[in-house]
Each structure stands twice: as C-alpha cells, then as structure tokens.
Symmetry: C2
Subunit: 323 residues, 2 copies
C-alpha cells in the first residue's frame, strides 16, 4: 500500500502523514511507502515505512505525471491556491486548482489501477441563489473563483469515478479551526488566527462582527474524516462522490466565549475587532447552515463543542511565542 | 453590433442566424455583421448584413483566439461534442466541451469589452442523487461526461461573469424535438427521429418504452429563447447565470399520439419499438420533472402542446423523402 499526499507540506497533509505513520495501515493494509509532494519539498515525517519528498507543481502536466511513477494506491489531493489568493490572482487559481486538479486525475487514471483519490473540496462551493438550509442535493453556486474551481474538481471527481478511471471521494471541508502555524491568504484565515495568536500571547484582528456564523471543524476531526474517506468502500458513495463533511455551526462570538471558558479572559482581550470589507465581501457569500446527512450516514463525525477545538489546539499545536 | 455564433453550422445555430437575419437587430441595436463558426465552415445565410464563415476547432486555443479578432458584441456558444459521442470518446468530449469552452470564455475575456456570451448548457446536467422534482436550486449530479462538461461550463460562465470578464448566460436546453436533418450521436437523437423520419415517409426505431418521459422544447421556441437570453439585462440573472429553460414533460407514448392527431396513423405505424440498452443506460439517468421558475420569471416561454411541435416541423423543416 503506497500513499501519496499532494499538498503534503500543508498542515492537513502533515497531520495526515503523522496519523498514517502512527496507524501504519490504511484500509487494513500495511503502508509500505509514503510520498509527500508539495510546491516545495515537504518536511519529513518519522514513520515505520519509507517516506519520500517531492517538490512538484501539479499545474505542470509532465511533472505531475512523473510524480505518479510512484504508483500510489491511495492519493490525498489537498493542494490548492486558497480562496483569497485565487480571488486576487484568477489565473493562478485556474492554473493550479482547475488544470492542476485535472492533471492529478489524469495521472491517476493513466496508472490503470483505479487508485483511491481523496480530493479535498470546500464548503466555499455553496453560496448564491440557494435556500438557507443546505442539503446534500442543494446546488453549488460558488461566489468565489476558489469555490468555482473546487466545484469543477468535484464534477470531475464524480465523472472520473463513474467512468472507472479513479475511485474518487470529494468531501467538502468546513472551515478548519483552530489551524496551527501562521495566517495565510485564505479569506477564512482569521477564523483560526483570532484564537491561535491570542492563545500564543499575540494580538489578532477579527474582520467580521461577532454574530458572523461559521461552519467549522477541528484539524483533529478533519484528519480523522479524510482518512476514513479513503477507507469507505466505493459503493457506499453512490452516484455523487462529493458531499459536505460534518461540521458545527457557531457564531464568532460564541467561539470566542468558548475560548474564554477554556483559556480565560486574557486571550479574548487580545482580539481587535476591525471589519475588513475585502474579507467580508468573500466570507459573507459563504453559508453556515449545512445538513450533512450523506456524510453522517457514511460514518463521518464532527466535534462536540468549540471548547474541544480550543483544547485540541492547546494539546496538539500551540507554539511558544517567539518573543 | 457584431454577432458570433460558434456551432453556427448546427441546426440551432443556422436557425438563430436566419432569425437574426429576419429581425435585423439584437437588443435594439442594428446587427452589422454575423460571424458563423463551426468545425467546418457553416452554410451561408441570406441576411441584410455581412455574413462571414469560419472553420475553427475551438479546442485549438490559438485558432479560437484568432476567431475573436472579429470582436463580437454577442456570442452564441452552441458548439459541443454531443452526449453519445462524449460518452464513447471521453477525451474528445473533454477537449472540445471543457477545454474548448474555456478557450471561448478566455477569448471573450481577452476582448476586454465584456461581451454577452450565451452558452447552451443542457438538462443532462441533472441526474443522480436528487429529489424527483428539479428546482432551480437542485444540485447538478450529471450521469454522463457530456453533462459533467456542461455543468463545468456553467460554473465557468457564472464565475467569469461574476468577475466581470464576460456577461454570460447559460440556459439549460431541454431535449429539442422535432429536430430537422439526420440522426446524430446524441443519445436523445431518437426523440426527434421517431417523429421526423416517419413524417418524411421513412421508418425509425424507438429504443425506449412508450412510458419514458421527456423534458422537451421545439426548435422554434429554443431559438426564440436563446435570442431572448442575449437580450435580457445582465442584472436580471442574479448570482447564477445558469438555469433550466422552460419546457414541457410528456411520455414518448403521448408524443406519438400527438403526432397521430396532427398527421394520422401512417407515420405512427412507421415506428419500430426496439429497446436499446446503450441508449437506455444514458437516457434513464436524465430527469424530466423540472420546474423552471427562474426562466419563467425572466420571460422565457415553452410550447403549448406537442401537437405544436409536430406542426412546427411540418411548417419549418420537413424535407421531401429522397426516394
């Protein structure tokens, strides 16, 4: 069992790699080799099996094809230009998120072995002209280019699976919070940084009002769910390989109060509230009220409360401030 | 006002060209030139303005860009590899329907004038895991590669419009019947040929049972609606440029009885009923129960009865049998 993680240098890719190293198996089979690929060579991971590192731009078809010479049985395709950057740099987003994803599916197809491909889609596919409560059969009307590119990836994932080229699974990730590391160009970046930075002794800016509602999931749960997505038998996915992952809805204000419960007043006082029209123009188009019936039926799960998310961050990811 | 019709050699493209020649204007502006493009140079159309003809493969980006040197104000993009062929030749469908459509949108964007682009999508985008009654907010879960490629074109059309690159409109065409001409590789080809051939004195094979239900529209109405789609103000389309065109639902048996009412028993007796598993595997995935509220609100309309469709064929398109 060879596993390839594209986007293996990102925080979810690294966490999946560590989880697989600990687990040792995937879908009941011994993992013999792990390939970590990203735009720059990903950090290594200590594992009981061989780990290789690849610096690959998936939008380069020849290099993407070459990457697949490792003949993976399971691929996690997590690489993407994130929402804020894909909105600011339309052509970069199209090149990586659309052409790059197509290259990944084509390279997987060319293996001829119908590998499992877990493609991380996003709840940014929802928006626009839809009823407020989102069901599994609600149309995708993304209001960002990132969301449109993810929605296209989903359609390709389902069609390549229907044709028997790959065995795809396209879970739509909620906003993942609390992410470790540094802020990034995702419009949702603040949904982690307003907790992470204060918990690490720094200030952070919240660009939305406290009543802004978020559909969220913890890093721990998303890793657990993505690994499960690779293990669920193909026939369970039915005619659509794309579906919303379970998550929880809470307002930013409720999430801040949950941090207060776990970590006291001090981190909460480090949040500065400064509405940002550019961020707002993107995130106000997202939808928090999602009913993930299909994912729940597949056995995927969510967090119990945002207090858990704060605790997970303190247990798994907190870094001592550099100062 | 310069108009470009891509797929201008097809029967809908030709009918739009003739309608524009008769009308002389589009959106209240005088048409000064019409450009007809197709994979082979389209037949000419008699018109009170200049008409040019282009043989262009839109999947060739450089040639597609060159076509747009005509600087169209309005583009009808009707060109596609049809459903049956796109299912049999996956890569051809991807090349023309996905890459070709992307080339068209990119060439239109490169003009910098935000041209109106009417992209003909298809009700083949519907299928799979959706409730039986299809609303404007029902998700797209196409069960053919043609449908997947059209759904991707819709997402691009909406996103390119949202970004201000083009002013796109993506109506989903019902099955168009009674089409003139000859059978083609569309899985829906029989939905015209079982009427057209018998009305022209020939036999035809019906590969489905009489109780198979179809969501249909006449050639006359689709041409009228597509031209209206180019004339409706951009702001009326809201956040999703894609929507189902109005149509009617009827079973094949009801449609045959409508032909009997208009043209008597003789054509009906020329239909041979021979179920075809390949055709069935495609068309059984299509959905006939569509509620096109958005299109109706936009002022788009449907036929009054299938008897009308038979009469339209007799008035507009019947050809004396060659024998």
């Amino acid at each position: 069992m060879r596993v390839l993680i594209i986007g293996g240098g990102g925080f979810i890719g690294q966490k999946i790699a560590k989880a697989l190293a600990e687990k040792g198996t995937l879908n009941g089979k011994q993992i013999t080799h792990l390939e970590l690929a990203d735009i720059t060579a990903p950090p290594t991971v200590v594992a009981p099996f061989g780990v290789s590192h690849h610096a690959v731009d998936i939008s380069d078809k020849a290099k993407c094809d070459a990457l697949f010479q490792c003949q993976p049985d399971v691929v996690f395709h997590l690489a993407a230009i994130v929402s804020g950057q894909a909105e600011a740099e339309f052509d970069t987003g199209m090149r990586v998120n659309l052409a790059g994803t197509l290259n990944v599916f084509e390279a997987a197809r060319a293996l001829g072995t119908k590998p499992v491909v877990v493609f991380s889609s996003s709840c940014a596919v929802y928006g626009g002209e839809i009823p407020d409560q989102i069901e599994d059969w609600t149309t995708l009307n993304p209001q960002t280019s990132y969301g449109a590119q993810k929605a296209i990836g989903e359609l390709l994932c389902t069609d390549y699976s229907r044709k028997g080229f790959i065995d795809g699974r396209a879970p739509r990730l909620p906003t993942i919070t609390i992410r470790p590391g540094k802020p990034n160009a995702a419009a949702s970046s603040f949904m982690s940084s307003i907790f992470r930075e204060p918990l690490q002794g720094q200030t952070a800016v919240c660009p939305v009002q406290p009543d802004y509602a978020v559909w969220y999931l913890s890093p721990r749960k998303v890793v657990e769910n993505l690994i499960k997505c690779a293990e669920i038998p193909a026939e369970k996915f039915g005619e659509n390989r794309a579906f919303a992952l379970p998550g929880r809805v809470a307002t930013i204000g409720e999430m801040v109060e949950a941090m207060r419960k776990v970590a006291g007043d001090e981190p909460v006082n480090r949040i500065k509230w400064e509405p940002d029209p550019v961020i707002l123009s993107i995130v106000m188009g997202w939808r928090p009220h999602i009913n993930p019936q299909k994912a729940l039926a597949l056995g995927l799960t969510t967090d119990d409360s945002f207090e858990d998310n704060v605790r997970y961050f303190l247990e798994d990811d907190i870094q001592v401030p550099a100062t």
